[in-house]
Assembly symmetry: none
Homo-oligomer: 253 residues x 2
Amino acid sequence: MTTTSPQGRTELLRADGSPVRVLVVDDEVSLTELLSMALRYEGWQIRSAGDGVGAVRTARAFRPDAVVLDMMLPDMDGLAVLGRLRRELPDVPVLFLTAKDAVEDRIAGLTAGGDDYVTKPFSLEEVVARLRGLIRRAGAADRRSESVLAVGDLTLDEDSHEVTRGGDSIHLTATEFELLRYLMRNPRRVLSKAQILDRVWNYDFGGQANVVELYISYLRRKIDAGREPMIHTRRGAGYLIKAAPATEAAAAS
Amino acid sequence: MTTTSPQGRTELLRADGSPVRVLVVDDEVSLTELLSMALRYEGWQIRSAGDGVGAVRTARAFRPDAVVLDMMLPDMDGLAVLGRLRRELPDVPVLFLTAKDAVEDRIAGLTAGGDDYVTKPFSLEEVVARLRGLIRRAGAADRRSESVLAVGDLTLDEDSHEVTRGGDSIHLTATEFELLRYLMRNPRRVLSKAQILDRVWNYDFGGQANVVELYISYLRRKIDAGREPMIHTRRGAGYLIKAAPATEAAAAS
DNA sequence: ACCGTTTCTCAGGGAATTCACAGGTTCCGG
DNA sequence: CCGGAACCTGTGAATTCCCTGAGAAACGGT
């Protein structure tokens, strides 16, 4: 089930209308903090654990709808934790966090069961999107919840990563896609460059804030090219996306 | 939840109708004084602390709905304070104060959790607006509280930064926007130039007091242009905004 | 290892914004 | 009716903010 908040944000809820529950398992406190804050902001209920034993204990009591699990824990191997979690919660989807260079094939086998994974360092947009997908597919949330975002004649499919404007398909790179998704999940709201950077770029990105300007520029070229612009600059405040006003011909209203 | 006071000011309240509670943490006494006064004027309950230890102690007892936290504290790093605060108050939104040139410095990830920050030197209008936004979105206040201010046929959307009069969209610069917001949050009330300067301009602004006159002039050009004026001068006292009276045709009353 | 794609830095240019200054206008008391 | 105080606003310059081209570096697939 999804509802739309007064601010226009779309929220994911459980079938009974209560908030989604997510368990975060990672030994780096700053990371669990970062994740907890971001996921809480999605309107979800979060609990966290720093090791495998704690994870299993918390899972038993908390009964989460999804688990974020770092594969590198101090006390036991990620696979062992996974096994015990599965005994507690057979059907819960798990989002694995792995180091970039970790053996991909091992993970690949694990994700066959409807689980998913992201590599560190990740962007919050990516984690949230993957988690939303997992929860949606696991059926904890209402089945009707859609994976397509739409603003005006612009659509973005979170599953297929397809983007269209006025019916025309548009090819975006990974970063462009995440930026657009973030904008489209917050239509008609000004998002500052700092917010965008925090959300769309990896948490360890230490570069110049003007990459945001650059990628906005890229997006405009692909999305607004020769059309009524949808991406707007609020000088000194940030950027926002909104449906283009009807063009003058139809603007009789 | 929002209610409208007898003076016409719109106040933010907690779900149970009690005043919002805010904790201010900064080591510069003059700044905590300034902030406390301004925030109290919003009708909020304020408590302040001058260092990290005090902040955590006060937070435990006071249970604020939001925290204003200087990143530069004498006894510990801002992030360390944040961590301990989070342990006490997992869901409380935090507004960080940071130096202008230290922006790049570890702000990463902070705005993504629904927190926010402003750079020193700030304007009180900015701090109050951000704080209102945080509290609104954190759900301490009723979710239905709106982000749109309206006076007569003039509207100002704090999320999209959109301003309209009689349906026509009006473009304002950042300073014009903040000035208008301040006026509109205090309709039918005379605001002195000193008040406006203190509120809308950064606290270290050292310029001529007649910038206020200048910006009022700008606003009039954009908002009152060719229409029934809404911005009025009270000579020797200040300025005020109010709904335009019905135009002569309908002015039988 | 090679080549196309993607990400990002850097820097120049351009435009919007802020602000000081100063001359003009309005208001008011005497 | 005069003079001063308060206010209004045109002009222009400095600054800040944003956009975007060019190219280096990193990445990914074959």
